[in-house]
Symmetry: C2
Subunit: 171 residues, 2 copies
C-alpha cells in the first residue's frame, strides 16, 4: 500500500519538529514527500537548530498537479514563504482542486495571504488564531481541526494527532 506524492513547502526558521514529525510519518506510510523551496539544494535550518533540511525542488519547477497534497510546517517559515507570490499561487492551486492542505502552527499565515480563510474553520498557533478570527475564519483551539480538504493544527505537542489526521485524510 504505497501513497502518492506530497509537496512540503519550506523556508529558513521552520519549527524543527513540525517538519520532522509529519515528514517521517508520511514516509513511513509510503508517501513520497518533496521538500520545495526557493531554490534546489538549499540547506534550510530549523529555528531550534536541530534540523537541517535540503530542498529537493525549486518552486519554479513544480506544479500542484504533480502532487496529492500540501504540507506547510510552522515556525518562521510560512511568513517567509508568503512574501513570495509563487508560493501563494502554489497554495491557491491546491485549494482550487480541493486537494488536502495540511498546515500547522504559523502555516495558516499563507492561507490568509492567499485570501482563503474567510468562512473556513481551522486552528493555528495561538497568536495566529487571533489574526484568523479578524480575517473572518472560525477558529477552534484544539489539537486538530478538519474542514473539508483542510487539516490544521496548533503546535509541536499536537504533531502525533496532526500526522494521524493527515494520513487518515489521504487514505
Amino acid at each position: 500500500m504505497t501513497g502518492g506524492k506530497i509537496a512540503c513547502i519550506l523556508s529558513e526558521g521552520f519549527e524543527d519538529s513540525e517538519f520532522r514529525v509529519p515528514y517521517e510519518k508520511l514516509k513511513k506510510e509510503g508517501f513520497q514527500v518533496d521538500v520545495i523551496g526557493t531554490k534546489v539544494g538549499e540547506e534550510l535550518e530549523g529555528k531550534g537548530g536541530k534540523e537541517r533540511v535540503k530542498t529537493e525542488k525549486a518552486i519554479d519547477g513544480v506544479k500542484a498537479d504533480d502532487y496529492q497534497a500540501l504540507l506547510i510546517p510552522g515556525g518562521y517559515s510560512p511568513d517567509h514563504l508568503r512574501a513570495d507570490d509563487r508560493f501563494v499561487e502554489f497554495v491557491t492551486a491546491f485549494e482550487r482542486s480541493k486537494k488536502l492542505i495540511a498546515a500547522v502552527c504559523h502555516g495558516p499565515q499563507i492561507l490568509m495571504t492567499a485570501g482563503l480563510v474567510k468562512g473556513r474553520t481551522l486552528t493555528a498557533w495561538s497568536t495566529i488564531q487571533g489574526d484568523l478570527r479578524l480575517a473572518g475564519a472560525t477558529v477552534r483551539d484544539q489539537a486538530v481541526v478538519t474542514d473539508g480538504n483542510w487539516v490544521t493544527s496548533r503546535k509541536p505537542e499536537d504533531l502525533a494527532q496532526f500526522s494521524e489526521a493527515i494520513v487518515k485524510s489521504l487514505r
Copy 2:
C-alpha cells in the same frame, strides 16, 4: 531640550536595526528609552545576530502612565510579545490614553491582537499588510504612515524617515 520617557517592548529575534536606529535617534534627541521585556536584565539577541540588548524593565514593573510613547520594533519579536496578554494590555493602555504608538515591520501584529486596527490607516512589513487589510484596516505601502497617535513603517530601509516621524510626533 530634553524629552520624556519612551517604552520600547522587545523580545528575542527583533530586527536588529529596527531597534537600534530609532533607539539611538530618540536618545540623541534627549528622550529616555526603557527596554521592556518579560524579565529585567535578560539579554535579547536580534535576528541578524548584530545586536544584543539587555532588558531594563520587566513588563510587570511598568505602567503606560509612566511613559510618553511606545516603540515596537519588528522582526520575530512582536509575534512573541503578543502571545503574552500583559504586553497586549500594555499596548492597549497607550491606545486608551491616545499616546504615541510607533510600530515598524511586524510591530503592527500586536496592534492586531489587541483588536485595534479595524478602521485605522497604517503600514507594516509586506506580509503583515495583507493581514491588516483582512482585519479591516486601510493599508498604505509607503515608508511612513501617520494616523492620529499612530506612526507606522515597513522595513529597515524606512528607518530614517520612521525615526524622524516619531520625533516630530513627540515634539
